[in-house]
């Protein structure tokens, strides 16, 4: 237990800072124009790739930099500080979710085909886990996969799929053994979103943006070489995927939150209340901001603990649920605090939409990747050993 900061890490941070300052997009991300959103996200990802900054923690042989998770975290600290585009964009899932899953459990062929393409911004990925009748009870999914020669023929429906309307590939979890109804009999397969029989219907979320989609499958033929792990053993692959979502994938968001909170503190210092005093002179506001700042610092500390555990090897364990629960609930409480501090101004989205959008999106965060209630079940049962 000792953190030694070495010169190479400091120099790395300086290089990141300089590059981001020179290369970050100045124009805002387009809104509700699907083709333009994808083009914006992929162009930014390509620029990062060309600059040598894509896949910092990924293995060298698949186009990554082969550096430590600490360097990856430093990247995200500087990324947020430079006010780069939101970290959760069309490329997020491939980089933080699907990519790490393939690195851990994919075949050589799958890694070679997809990993460099994800890093270049040539491939956009989405998830395909939740269904209308399988939300928190993920193991009850019913979308069927039937083996036909060298193909898996998929029929059914997924829902709440983020960025499906912008995607090329999908982390698709299907039931391949209908004689079982729970965790056994599932298969994790790389789905092609452009294959015949796939229909995507974007859904308008409470933020007003089209973020999630319904996806329908009508006898979609997917080659069996796309199976990650083994047929009927997809549950453990899905748990690894969710482990990444709950652990290391939050680095971008936590640093974005840290910068936004500092801006909110500045706003409270420089904005007057009805009596002409700075908002921060209000005891209740000062106390809430101080508490929020401590919690955001503690989230950063928790990320460092996650790195220490991950460097020990293997995919992240149930501790990731602590990170996810703490981070997502914190995002919501800071968003609510922002609304309180903005006051009437928060009601008109033309004025401070960075904050209002953040607040609205935070309602996604305590649901996606497993609701807060599911995270608490995991912590209770898998970390504390409480009975089911």
């Amino acid at each position: 237990m000792k953190t030694e900061i070495n010169r190479a890490d400091v120099e790395f941070r300086e290089q990141v800072r300089t590059w981001l300052e020179e290369n970050r997009p100045r124009e805002p991300r387009p809104h509700n124009d699907f083709a333009a959103e994808r083009a914006y996200d992929c162009a930014w990802q390509r620029r990062q790739y060309d600059g040598g900054w894509a896949g910092i923690g990924w293995p060298l042989e698949y186009g990554g930099r082969g550096l430590s998770l600490l360097r990856q975290l430093i990247w995200f600290e500087e990324y947020a500080r430079a006010k780069c585009p939101p970290p959760i964009d069309a490329c997020w899932l491939g980089l933080n979710h699907a990519g790490p899953t393939l690195i851990a459990l994919g075949t050589e062929q799958q890694k070679k085909k997809h990993l460099p393409a994800v890093l270049r911004g040539d491939e956009v990925w989405c998830q395909g886990f939740s269904e209308p009748n399988a939300g928190s009870d993920l193991a009850s999914i019913r979308t069927r996969g039937v083996i036909d020669g060298d193909y898996l023929v998929v029929t059914g429906q997924k829902t709440w799929t983020s960025f499906a309307h912008l995607s090329d590939y999908q982390e698709l979890l299907v039931r391949t053994d209908p004689s079982t109804s729970r965790h056994t009999g599932l298969t994790w397969i790389i789905g092609d979103m452009h294959a015949p029989g796939v229909t995507v219907r974007p859904i308008r979320s409470l933020t007003g943006a089209y973020h999630n989609c319904e996806v329908f499958y009508d006898e979609v033929r997917i080659p069996l070489v796309n199976v990650v792990g083994e047929i009927n053993r997809g549950w453990s692959v899905a748990m690894a995927t969710l482990g990444f979502e709950r652990g290391t994938a939050g680095f971008g968001e936590s640093n974005e939150l840290a910068v936004l909170l500092d801006e909110l503190i500045d706003h409270a210092r420089t904005t007057a209340d009805d009596n002409g005093r700075p908002l921060i002179a209000n005891e209740a506001i000062a106390r809430d901001l101080g508490q929020a700042k401590a919690e955001v610092q503690a989230l950063q500390a928790l990320n460092r603990l996650t790195i220490s555990r991950a460097e020990g090897g293997g995919p992240p364990g149930a501790e990731g649920s602590i990170v996810r629960l703490f981070m997502s609930e914190l995002e919501k409480s800071v968003g609510r605090l922002a609304m309180e501090i903005l006051g009437v101004r928060g009601l008109n989205r033309l004025d401070h939409d960075k904050w209002t959008h953040y607040y609205l999106f935070s309602f996604c965060q305590t649901i996606a990747g497993g609701t807060s209630e599911i995270q608490r079940n995991i912590i209770g049962e898998r970390l504390l050993g409480l009975p089911r």
Binding site: K2, T3, L289, A298, A301, L302, L305, L325, N377, I379
Partner: protein, 343 residues
């Protein structure tokens, strides 16, 4: 290299301190109305574990570890709700060293002499001496300073301690009598806050463990109560609060050991997070135990009560929230700070 997990050597420290406290000063001993004082032989045994000079240089008679190791010991003390005099003695040795009181320093490290904590209120009349004892040195902490006294405490009023596991004397502290006084935000003031934070994390963890054990064994409606989500989710929140506060406490210890410019911010965040965790877990512990949790014979209430004692020592939650805002006003220049650390 980033490592937030204990090394083999640090695990040995944890194991030896935990083993001693569990056998000699277990939580259950607090069930007596008046907590037994730590005996001379027990105190010497603690000194032999090396905890009182752990963070001091070998030339000063210490072991040359840092705050990073001291928090491991303090966390174990919090788990069994041990006397605050262990922390006071660690801090007294640092203060004695800082003011060149070499003989005090050696006597504190060897266990011949003990120190007691004085929680100094806003005015000099309101000082509270905790677990006072003849011939003990005194370490007084408030939100503006930390000071070492050999004498100068004059008891004035009777007390009835909220936390029955400690004794309290209310009196006046003659500030002019201090042998050594360091201001708010000095490294030793920060160390005191950090050691309080580590004990508060220990309280949060002790409350968590007691509660989880109970939730696994107590049966209602035909099953262990821990199977019900209403109870399970409280336990999960307890685990989260303790883990988050510990992560922040470790980061703060590393910052203090490295002399980083953001150490005041990190330490304040640790004290605030740890206090919140101890308060909430203390509440959860009593609630999950139900009727028995409200009774003095159940161990659950000690965590809640001690959390208030440590909250008020040094800067309390409200004070820390303001310190954090103040500290975050200064630009936290990561690179500049890390450059000085890398040197």
């Amino acid at each position: 290299m980033l490592n937030m997990l204990p090394t083999d050597e640090q695990t040995q420290i944890i194991d030896s301190v935990r083993g001693f406290l569990r056998s000699e000063l277990p939580l259950e001993q607090l069930r007596n109305r008046v907590a037994p004082e730590v005996s001379d032989s027990q105190w010497r045994a603690v000194a032999e574990l090396g905890i009182f000079g752990m963070g001091l240089a070998e030339s000063a008679g210490g072991i040359d570890f840092g705050a990073t190791e001291e928090i491991l010991v303090m966390r174990e003390c919090g788990r069994v709700v041990a006397t605050p005099s262990f922390m006071a003695t660690i801090l007294a040795a640092h203060l004695a060293h800082a003011c060149s009181q070499t003989s005090w320093c050696r006597a504190l490290i060897s266990g011949e002499r003990r120190a007691s904590l004085v929680i100094a209120g806003p005015d000099s009349h309101a000082a509270l001496l905790v677990d006072g004892r003849d011939n003990n040195l005194l370490v007084a902490i408030d939100s503006s300073s930390i000071a070492l006294f050999e004498s100068g405490f004059e008891p004035l009023r009777a007390t009835n301690s909220l936390d029955e596991s400690i004794t309290l004397q209310s009196g006046r502290l003659d500030r002019r009598a201090s042998a050594c006084k360091l201001p708010y935000s000095s490294p030793l003031w920060l160390r005191a806050s950090l050691l309080l934070a580590a004990q508060l994390v220990g309280l949060a963890e002790g409350a968590r463990d007691l509660t989880v054990d109970y939730a696994k064994t107590r049966q209602q409606f035909g099953k262990p109560i821990g199977a019900f989500q209403a109870v399970k989710h409280r336990c999960a929140d307890m685990a989260m609060l303790a883990e988050v506060a510990w992560a922040q406490t470790v980061v703060a210890a590393h910052a203090l050991d490295a002399g980083a410019t953001d150490a005041p911010l990190q330490v304040s965040c640790a004290k605030l997070m740890a206090t919140t965790a101890a308060h909430r877990n203390g509440d959860h512990a009593i609630q999950v135990h139900g009727g028995i949790g409200y009774q003095a014979e159940c161990d659950a209430h000690h965590f809640m009560k001690r959390s208030h004692v440590y909250d008020q020592a040094g800067g309390n939650r409200r004070h820390q929230a303001h310190s954090i805002l103040e500290a975050s006003r200064k630009p936290q220049e990561n690179i500049a700070c890390m450059r000085s650390m890398a040197r």
